[in-house]
């Protein structure tokens, strides 16, 4: 009887926890910064890309740019959105473990979080849901805006894009951001501090991708988390990545990585002293 009652409450506890996590995210300046990076970053790069395409075409030298399609100008800016997603995934966890100054008691928010929601899997699931909703919302604004801006800047000079494949790439980019954010969240559960995951993940997705370096050694490196999903949104106009996984396969492999990371972090988070 009591058992039954407890089980009935569980979905409500999760719903409450999700709403609480959404509120936390909305009122944390660091997550606002993450959203700003995810929205404004790709838009800015898209504008730059689109102008260089337009200038190259207008000057009669389209060979100077790798592509002349607006979609390409927009999707090659998508890695900036990945960085925003990484920041969001990291800060949602690291903010729980940031200690207040000793002058204010030196406490950490995780104490308050677990006092209100002692079931740790519920806490982690609620955080994952909040991150997914935030990333998808950012993608829903950013990607159409980037496509629109690129199309507007390049205008009639563009190589036209087909709607179907472009929409699929937009969905793919949103999925890539979401899965990356979930992996960043899971890794930060293990480290608790956000510093190392932020540095490693941002460098890896902007300056040097370790996976892409390794693809020169073995094509198996295309199965690594960040490389697996690259074709979700990235075309290969120069034919550099012929061994990259196809979008569907790559997306599934990347999703499997994200689930794996989440499984490990759940196991650690439920067993570890807070």
């Amino acid at each position: 009887m009591t058992r039954l009652r407890a089980d009935r409450r569980r979905p409500m506890t999760l719903l409450r926890a999700v709403v609480a996590e959404l509120r936390k995210t909305a009122t944390l300046p660091a997550s606002a910064a993450a959203t700003a990076v995810a929205v404004l970053g790709p838009l800015g790069i898209t504008v730059l890309n689109a102008f260089s395409v337009r200038n190259a075409i207008r000057s009669g030298q389209p060979g100077l740019v790798a592509y002349t399609s607006p979609a390409e100008a927009a999707f090659s800016a998508a890695p900036l959105g990945t960085i925003g997603a990484i920041i969001l995934g990291v800060v949602v966890i690291s903010s729980e473990f940031t200690a207040n100054s000793p002058d204010a008691g030196g406490g950490r928010q995780i104490t308050a979080t677990l006092a209100a929601t002692p079931r740790r899997l519920v806490v982690l699931a609620a955080k994952a849901v909040a991150v997914v909703l935030n990333v998808l919302a950012a993608a829903a604004i950013t990607l159409p805006a980037c496509l629109f801006v690129a199309d507007f800047v390049i205008g009639d000079l563009a190589t036209p894009d087909d709607l179907g494949p472009t929409a699929a790439r937009a969905a793919g980019a949103a999925l890539y951001w979401t899965l990356t954010a979930l992996m960043a969240l899971a890794i930060t559960v293990l480290t608790r501090s956000g510093v190392i995951p932020l540095i490693v993940l941002i460098v890896n997705s902007s300056l040097v991708s370790v996976s892409m370096v390794l693809t020169h050694v073995t094509t198996l490196a295309y199965y690594l988390p960040d490389a697996a999903g690259m074709r979700l949104f990235a075309d290969d106009p120069l034919g550099e990545f012929e061994h990259a996984l196809a979008p569907l396969t790559g997306g599934l492999v990347m999703a499997a990585w994200a689930l794996g990371f989440l499984a490990v972090s759940s196991a650690v988070f439920t067993r570890r002293d807070a």
Binding site: R16, A30, G105, L114, A116, A274
Partner: protein, 233 residues
């Protein structure tokens, strides 16, 4: 009723708690007294489900904290200050706690008012003094109108007026039938507030019972404390 029974906690080779057993009863203020590092916080962290014991149980009306359906409506707690992120405002902190705990929104203003932070609800927690942080922590503890309060060093950083205020608050809570368990290393404060006393030293309980019984045979609580903990060397 809070029942702690046979609690042992080891961190590798180090034993932090050994066989800690005591109760905190409704209608009473129970003071949990011990030197820094004696195991007070470890005991309270286990009671609140934050850390796992190596052995033993810590129950709230017969259930572990993690199994309580609405934990913050049963137990209000404060450990290490407010537990609020420094870049969030006091009101926003209480708002998510209320959401997560299933507590109606109107309670946010009520508790801010009750702890004397009505004017600071829109201030970022990073700008709070230690005393304000303690008051915010208490506000969060009181949010769910819980029957039991578990407070780690609640008078830390409070000014004399604040100490007087919290004494009245805790007394009122116990007199209304609530349970209060508070830890402290400040003997004079504990002597003023508590009905029952639990003294811990080196991870072991060295005395439990009504304040008068524990002090019996000594001039003051302070003398009793040093005699019992053997810290007066």
């Amino acid at each position: 009723m809070l029942s702690i029974s046979g609690l042992t906690k080891r961190h590798g080779p180090r034993t932090v708690l050994s066989d800690v057993t005591f109760q905190a009863r409704p209608g009473r203020v129970t003071g949990f007294l011990g030197p820094n590092g004696a195991g007070k916080s470890s005991t309270l962290r286990i009671l609140l489900g934050l850390d796992r014991p190596t052995a033993g149980t810590a129950l709230i009306d017969g259930r572990p904290y993690r199994k309580l359906p609405d934990p913050i409506r049963a137990v209000g707690s404060m450990l290490d200050g407010s537990g609020a992120h420094r870049s969030r405002t006091a009101r926003n902190h209480l708002a998510w706690v209320a959401r997560a705990g299933g507590v109606p929104k109107r309670r946010i203003d009520e508790v801010l008012d009750q702890v004397g932070l009505a004017g600071a609800g829109r201030t970022r927690v990073g700008k709070f003094s230690l005393g304000m942080g303690q008051r915010l922590g208490l506000a969060a503890a009181l949010l769910g109108e819980p029957a039991a309060l578990v407070l780690d060093e609640p008078v830390n950083g409070l000014d004399p007026e604040g100490i007087r205020w919290i004494r009245g608050l805790l007394r009122g809570h116990a007199d209304a039938g609530g349970t209060v368990l508070l830890s402290s290393h400040l003997m004079s404060e504990v002597a003023e507030i508590t009905d029952d006393l639990v003294i811990i030293a080196g991870g072991r309980i060295v005395a439990t019972g009504p304040l008068t019984e524990v002090i019996a045979g000594h001039a003051t609580l302070e003398e009793a404390f040093f005699a019992l903990t053997g810290a007066d060397r």
